[in-house]
Amino acid sequence: MTASDFVLGFGEAGWGAALLQAAMMTLAVALTGYAFGLVVGSLGAWAKIKGGTLLRLIADAYTTVLRGIPDILVIYLFYFGSSAVLTPLAGLFGISGFVSLPGFMAGALAIGLVSGAYQAEVMRGAYRAVSPGEIEAAIAAGMSRMTLFRRIIAPLVLRYALPGLGNVWQLVLKESALVSVTGLVEILRQAQIGAGSTGQPFTFFFAAAVLYLAISSFSTWLLRRTEGRLTLGSRRA
């Protein structure tokens, strides 16, 4: 077997380039979903900490439900559910057949909504870890609420939340494989296509596993480095 015959190679018959491109798609959908989750999660944490009875109830229901149902149901909900709304709407414009949100959008929204529930809990915990003395000191120094948040609360919460947020990122990365059910060509979908057309499923799914392993290891390394930077100011025993 020469290098150019190898199915995972980068030659004309090789799938290497396609798989790497799919890895970029995995990163894109996971990062988009994660960023969306950060926004939803921050709002959720804020509602749980500072909200009134109703807001707290809604936020609690959100985090309980989204953490208690399988992720795949949420992806189906956005993918098939959006078609229940969009297909009749498209019919009005003379487009017939199955119309749904694009896989990327449905996937990113689903990942965002699920990871937001986890991120809300992480950030709520991190906020609790900020010592009241620091906040009181800032108020005593005459900081406005905005400055207090920007210069004291946000940096401290980020520092305490980072390990938890890192865990959620690893979760999101693995969850992104489920988006393959919408037909979005990310790592797993590309591996399925390759397996189908070459008849070598083990080779392709193994390659997919290695790609996920590589992304996840790189993330761990990066997170550990960032954590080191963010905790430079704190004492270590």
Partner: protein, 238 residues
């Protein structure tokens, strides 16, 4: 809201609950045995045992479960050796493949829970047991495992919930548990939102019950940490 349709959907989806529970319970049970073996290997202090166990945990925790399911269900058939072997009647069945993948996956996560729990057993307790002349087997049976079980329970409760959610992925390799039935109903009726909400409610209910059971078990296992009933009565009288 179309209540009769929701009710009909609920009845249809409930027929998938036994398979969902069966997958979750068997994989958690088998996974727990594997997890204890892996945790003991990691803590053995022998490189030859600890290193492979660490690798196993790292690999299974860093890759998506769906990839593991596909690797076992679709992937293994690539090898003639596997297809010719006596294992093939098992490995070509989606049920067994899903069960194997779920078991191997939960074993990796649970190994870390068990390892943490074993490490949390105070050394003094172990020394005391040794001083009483307990054999290593008795020591584990009567001191280490009961104490570790208590520490592991909250973490293991999370793992129960994760696994119940993970069984939904078995539907992708054609198993007709709750999610599989839901997907089938959607393709027949195109009423995705209602069907998915009913399916979600079923999972939420199962997880609610599981959470309660774990809480009850935690309570039952912490009798020594609670004040004696007599003290409670006195406290109530004051």
């Amino acid at each position: 809201m179309d209540i009769p349709f929701l009710y009909e959907t609920l009845l249809k989806l409930l027929t998938g609950v036994p398979l969902t529970l069966q997958l979750a319970v068997s994989s958690l049970g088998l996974g727990a045995i594997l997890a204890v073996i892996l945790a003991l290997a990691r803590l053995s202090g022998l490189r030859l045992l600890a290193w492979p166990a660490s690798c196993y945990v790292f690999i299974f925790r860093s890759t998506p479960l769906l990839v593991q399911i596909f690797l076992i269900y679709h992937g293994l058939g690539q090898f003639h050796g596997v297809r010719a072997s006596f294992l093939w009647p098992i490995l070509r069945e989606p049920y067994w493949c899903a069960l194997i993948a779920l078991t191997l996956n939960t074993a990796a996560y649970s190994c870390e829970i068990v390892r943490g729990a074993l490490l949390s057993v105070p050394p003094g307790q172990i020394e005391a047991a040794r001083a009483c002349g307990m054999s290593s087997f008795t020591l584990h049976r009567r001191v280490v495992f009961p104490l570790a079980l208590r520490h592991a329970l909250p973490g293991y409760g999370n793992e129960f919930i994760l696994m119940i959610k993970s069984t939904a992925l078995a539907s992708i390799i054609t198993l007709m548990e709750v999610t599989g039935l839901a997907a089938q109903l959607i393709s027949e009726s195109f009423r995705a939102i209602e069907i998915l909400i009913v399916a979600a409610a079923i999972y939420l209910f199962i997880n609610f019950i599981v959470t309660r059971l774990v809480q009850w078990a935690e309570y039952a296992l912490s009798a020594d940490l609670r004040p004696p009933p007599a003290a409670l009565e006195q406290g109530g009288a004051l």
